[in-house]
């Protein structure tokens, strides 16, 4: 995407943000396809190179700020629901995926939102994602309902199709921008000395870095 290239190689102030993003969603909503599409730009492909799609990383350059994204997939089966807190501890962002043809999966998202807000407060950036918009005809979750719900809980709503590669770049890019903002607010707060120095330790790791040599333009997300 164009925006990802942004400030590009010119920005020498070498800072790399490391973000942890958890991926939550019921079994068959297409979480895996979503990340595979994003990181490998492949869908149901025999040539997928990764051995697994449960932990994926991606390097981004957003407006000259470098971001290392670690995407943590979580087991979506109901029986593992109680393990959620172990997964999303210390995460900067959460992507909550539901299937637009499956009302139940949207209900599940609501549960997770409640839980996340309770456990992590407002520090975490939430994205609610309606996947499989290629199956618009079979839609069971209304757009208005989903969007107004997302707004009411301070989350952003996105529509994606892993199959047709729609909306995925925007989703991750937007999320990264929001996480950078949150991190910057945090930093400023820390600069004022309002938060104890120990608190930052397990949160965002800001690492000084040598300026990365980037071929201008597309950055890492040169999908198309």
């Amino acid at each position: 995407m164009a925006a990802a290239g942004g400030g590009g190689s010119g920005a020498a102030a070498g800072r790399a943000y490391s973000f942890k993003v958890v991926l939550l969603g019921e079994g068959c909503v297409g979480k895996t396809s979503l990340v595979l599409r994003y990181c490998e730009n492949k869908f149901n492909d025999k040539h997928i190179t990764t051995l697994q799609a449960s932990f994926l990383t991606k390097k981004l350059n957003i407006g000259g700020k470098r971001v290392n994204l670690a995407i943590w997939d979580t087991a979506g089966q109901e029986r593992f629901h109680a393990l959620g807190p172990i997964y999303y501890r210390d995460s900067n962002g959460a992507i909550l995926v539901y299937d637009i043809t499956d009302e139940d999966s949207f209900q599940k998202v609501k549960n997770w939102v409640k839980e996340l807000r309770k456990m992590l407060g407002n520090e975490i950036c939430l994205c609610i994602v309606g996947n499989k918009i290629d199956l618009e005809k079979e839609r069971h979750v209304s757009i208005q309902e989903a969007e107004s719900y997302a707004e009411s809980v301070g989350a952003k709503h996105y529509h994606t199709s892993a199959k047709q590669n729609k909306g995925i770049e925007e989703l991750f890019l937007d999320l990264c921008k929001r996480m950078i903002e949150t991190a910057q607010v945090d930093e400023r707060a820390k600069g004022n000395g309002s938060s104890p120095p120990g608190a930052a330790r397990r949160g965002v790791q800001i690492i000084d870095d040598e300026p990365q040599v980037q071929s201008g333009g597309g950055g890492c997300c040169s999908s198309g």
Partner: protein, 492 residues
């Protein structure tokens, strides 16, 4: 000798027999001419001096060693080292009272003023150096070799690490959480210092941090792994028992997407189990993490071979749970706690290793809380399996899980054969009984038939023939026979 000769002489001065100290008592050559009291005083003084000298020697040797290390790195090392030595004394004094390591790094202007205390605090440092085993020696050497490549930064890092280890020596009595906190602070401070002051690029910082972790944790391991002050050991035993009680859980119940009938897959499963068990044998948290990662990679391969697509977390977690259940790794909780407390946090929180480790934590949490519902079983079935009354494998012996090892498989096969044999034997027995009955029936039938025939044609027994009957009465001509001989008696 001289004393003796003098005694033999004619004139012996009185003063020569007296204590050399001149206290008025007589001295004794065995006490080098002192009286007993003065000798004792003198002797103690000498011994004290000897001890002092030994200390100084040890100190000097250590300094030399450090100087050698420093000079091999940079020319201005000596100067900073003397200061470091001084700072070390100062901090030693401080850390005895203060529970945080952060003070190490604050450039305090207050310089150690109480010399006596410094002297005292200095004493235990050689004892720390002494208790190194072969392994820690090897790790230390590697660490120093490694740091040499970083010149000034390396020297700095070495200094800080040494200070930290000494500080930790005094903190052994603190709770494990406090010790963990100190270690974490240390990691963070060292990393920050390298970045801000040393201007070390992040990749190198990461590498150095790995080495620091290896160095300090090899030394601390003995004291901070499964410490007595915690209930880690109890938890280990609880989870171990729990896993044993769950021996009957099948891959089907957990919906594990792995088909162990494929030899390649079962091979991967075995490797994964070996890796997770191996975790306990490592000392350094990072090495333990590496075992978890290797195990996870094997799990992924197994899933990939079975399903022919990259594994998602939905596949991975159940399989990992299954591996943990099958492997029952030793001291699982202790290992998890140890890694959580003492691993470099940047690795644990965001990296790939961290992800797998989190999954392992999830697997353990799941096993602890596992109930009938989480295995899609009815409560009665679950209770029966847990109490060991029945095993799901016995019920469905045809499709028993392929996870059973060769011996168990053979056993089930043999049991199966035995039951078949039993059945056949019973059949033979019943047939034999039938045969016996048939035989009896047959003989009875024959007997009856014979009876009938006998009844139909009864055997007539004719009266005896008259002529034959008169065989005795034929002796009519007995009188014609000569009379029987009579015994005759002869006289004489």
């Amino acid at each position: 000798m001289s004393l003796k000769s003098e005694r033999r002489g004619i004139h012996v001065d009185q003063s020569e027999l007296l204590c050399k100290k001149g206290c008025g008592y007589y001295g004794n050559p065995a006490w080098q001419g002192f009286c007993s009291k003065c000798w004792r005083e003198e002797y103690h003084k000498a011994r004290q001096k000897q001890i002092q000298e030994d200390w100084e020697l040890a100190e000097r040797l250590q300094r030399e060693e450090e100087e050698a290390f420093a000079s091999s790195q940079s020319s201005q090392g000596a100067q900073s080292l003397t200061f470091s030595k001084f700072e070390e004394k100062k901090t030693n004094e401080k850390t005895r009272k203060v529970t945080t390591v952060k003070r190490f790094f604050s450039a305090s202007s207050r310089v150690g003023s109480k010399k006596a205390e410094i002297q005292e605090a200095k004493a235990p440092s050689p004892s720390i150096n002494r208790q190194t085993s072969i392994e820690t020696d090897r790790v230390s050497k590697e660490f120093i070799e490694f740091l040499k490549t970083f010149h000034k930064t390396g020297q700095e890092v070495y200094k800080q690490t040494k200070l930290f280890l000494e500080a930790m020596h005094y903190k052994r009595d603190l709770s494990i959480e406090e010790q963990s906190e100190c270690t974490q602070d240390f990691y963070q401070n060292v990393a920050e210092r390298m970045q801000t002051r040393g201007k070390v690029p992040p990749e190198k910082v990461e590498k150095i941090m790995d080495h620091i972790e290896k160095y300090i944790m090899t030394r601390l391991y003995k004291h901070v792994f499964c410490p007595e002050t915690t209930d880690d050991e109890k938890k280990d035993l609880t989870i171990q028992k729990r896993i044993r009680a769950l021996h009957w859980v099948t891959p089907q119940m957990l919906c594990v997407p792995v088909n162990e009938e494929i030899p390649e897959v079962s091979d991967m499963v075995v490797k994964a189990i070996t890796d997770i068990i191996e975790m306990d044998s490592k000392r350094v948290p990072r090495d333990k993490l590496a075992c978890v990662t290797r195990c996870s990679k094997h799990v992924f391969s197994a899933i990939k071979v079975t399903k022919n697509e990259p594994a998602s977390a939905d596949d991975f977690l159940p399989t990992l749970i299954y591996i943990v259940l099958k492997g029952n790794p030793p001291r699982l909780q202790s290992n998890i706690q140890y890694v959580t407390r003492f691993c470099n946090p940047s690795r644990l929180m965001t990296g790939e290793d961290g992800y797998y480790f989190t999954n392992l934590c999830c697997a353990v949490a799941f096993i602890e809380k596992l109930d009938a519902q989480s295995l899609n079983l009815s409560q009665e079935d679950f209770d029966r399996y847990m109490s060991g009354q029945t095993s799901p494998r016995k019920q469905e012996s045809e499709n028993w899980s392929p996870d059973a090892c060769l011996g168990v498989r053979q056993m089930y096969k043999n049991l199966d054969l035995l039951s078949q044999l039993n059945e056949r034997q019973e059949r033979i027995m019943s047939e034999a009984k039938k045969l016996e009955k048939d035989l009896i029936d047959w003989t009875d039938g024959i007997a009856k038939e014979v009876q009938d025939i006998v009844e139909k044609c009864p055997l007539e027994i004719k009266p005896p023939n008259q002529s034959l009957a008169a065989i005795d009465s034929e002796n009519v001509e007995n009188d014609k026979l000569p009379p029987p001989l009579q015994p005759q008696v002869y006289a004489g």
